[in-house]
């Protein structure tokens, strides 16, 4: 125990003894504790200060990050807004296109309706035209025919053979003209009639028609050979017309020969079926093959073979209508083959 200084002196001057020593001891112990506590506190304060500094540091960092994040968010927001705006513009452009499209579509429909009306009107005109032919052209023909006949009948005594022959020529021409008109009407009627589609048994049809033709011309000893003919989809009535025209032609041009023979066959070729009618008759000059299918075109003289020359034109029209094509081949004097292709059923 040390005791220096004035206070100690004072203490010592007034009080000495064991109680004083106890008191001093307690005081000195207390002071030590206080010093220790003080040191502890100081240390604590230091720690606290450091912690505070760290906290402040963190706070600054946090603030910086927040500011950065805020910046990023603002940026993202700005971009989103831009995108939204761009979307909106696209949407508007789309709606605008839709309006335009609808308008164009309406215009197109209007156009189609107009064109349909035009075509309908044209068809009506054509109907009226052929109606007129039907009435007005036939009447004078009948008159020409009739009066020539009447003259022949009533004035037979006054007319010689030559006169009669000339009158017959008049009648013959009038008859021919009537046939031309009928042929033309048949041809034009095709364009006015709606085609009705169904599966058509080509074999049975050709066979039946061949039989009919043979019955109508018993004097021709034609040999009909009908091969396997697959069915097709089409208008039965129209296809019937095709067979009638082709088979009748084949018969007509081969009947004069010694052994007339008509071959009907079919061949599958890709997406088509090719039907062929071959006869061993007089044939035709291939140089004129193209003209065969024209209306009223004939490659033989009228006195050699009857007919007005519209049958093949009708065949071509019908086959074309069915999405097919026709052609013919021949060596003059060596028969002819008429072929038509139709899409497979």
């Amino acid at each position: 125990m040390n005791c220096d200084g004035p206070h100690c002196d004072m203490l010592v001057a007034g009080h000495t003894g064991p109680s004083m020593r106890k008191l001093l001891s307690t005081l000195f112990q207390g002071r030590a504790v206080l010093q220790q506590t003080n040191a502890d506190l100081q240390a604590e304060v230091n720690r606290r200060e450091i912690a505070e500094d760290q906290l402040f540091e963190s706070h600054i960092q946090l603030e910086l990050r927040v500011a950065q994040r805020e910046q990023e968010l603002l940026e993202a927001n700005r971009r989103l807004e831009e995108e939204a705006l761009s979307h909106q513009r696209t949407q508007q452009a789309l709606e605008h296109s839709e309006v335009l499209f609808r308008r164009l579509n309406d215009q197109l429909e209007e156009h189609v309706a107009e064109r349909t009306a035009e075509l309908t009107a044209t068809i009506a005109e054509l109907e009226a035209f052929s109606y007129s032919i039907s009435h007005d052209l036939r009447a004078p023909l009948r008159a020409i025919n009739g009066y020539a006949s009447i003259v022949r009948e009533d004035y037979s005594a006054a007319i010689d053979d030559e006169g009669r022959r000339l009158l017959l020529r008049i009648e013959g021409n009038a008859r021919k003209m009537a046939q031309l008109i009928d042929g033309l009407l048949d041809f034009s009627r095709l364009g006015r009639v709606e085609a009705v589609s169904s599966e058509v048994n080509m074999h049975d049809m050709a066979k039946a028609i061949a039989a009919e033709l043979q019955a109508e011309h018993p004097e021709s000893r034609a040999d009909w050979v009908i091969g396997e003919l697959p069915p097709v989809r089409g208008d039965a009535a129209m296809l019937r017309q095709v067979w009638v025209n082709l088979l009748a032609n084949a018969l007509k041009f081969s009947a004069q020969g010694p052994e007339p023979r008509i071959d009907v066959s079919a061949q599958r070729q890709g997406s088509e079926i090719i039907f062929a009618v071959r006869d061993n008759g007089v044939g035709f000059d291939m140089a004129y093959a193209e003209k065969l299918f024209g209306v009223f075109n004939r490659l033989h003289a009228a006195n050699e073979f009857p007919g007005v020359g519209v049958g093949l034109a009708i065949v071509r029209r019908i086959v074309t209508r069915h999405g097919g094509r026709v052609w013919a081949s021949s060596g003059d004097g060596a028969g002819a083959t008429f072929s038509f292709a139709l899409p497979r059923a």
């Binding site: 009948r142 008159a143 020539a148």
Partner: protein, 148 residues
């Protein structure tokens, strides 16, 4: 023949050539009954109904058969057909349409209006004679006329 006699055939035809041939055919078919020719629709109706130019026929019997062309001036054949078939007094008159038209719509309309028959005028003169002979023999001999 006076117009008050019984009329076998009333021929309504505006074309003089066709009329001539038809009359010739009827002559050749030895039709013993009278044949009357009128050349337009108005006269046809007046004859049948006994009016206008044919006033004196009023109350007379109907002809045994009418041969009616479709293409007529003034009132056309279909209208004549409609009026005669539409009137109970004259509906029973047998009407044979005799026309150069083979058009579907003419055939349909004629039958729809009550035509008794539809004949397409033959193109050949000999056919005219033959067909009309058949026609008139059928209607005047084979067919029973409607009661008057």
């Amino acid at each position: 023949m006076s117009l008050s006699d019984e009329i076998g055939v009333l021929l309504v035809e505006d074309n003089p050539d066709d009329a001539e041939f038809t009359l010739r055919a009827l002559r050749k078919a030895n039709v013993s009954l009278n044949v009357v020719l009128v050349d337009n629709g108005v006269k046809a109706l007046e004859f049948v109904f006994g009016t206008g130019a044919y006033q004196e026929r009023s109350g007379n019997k109907l002809p045994r058969v009418m041969l009616l062309d479709l293409k007529l001036p003034k009132i056309d054949g279909l209208e004549v057909l409609r009026r005669i078939k539409g009137d109970p007094r004259t509906r029973m008159l047998p009407i044979v349409i005799l026309t150069s038209s083979r058009e579907q719509r003419d055939i349909e309309e004629s039958y729809r209006l009550g035509a008794n028959s539809y004949i397409v005028k033959p193109v050949d003169y000999p056919e005219v004679i033959a067909k009309l002979g058949e026609l008139v023999r059928y209607w005047l001999q084979l067919n029973e006329p409607p009661p008057n």
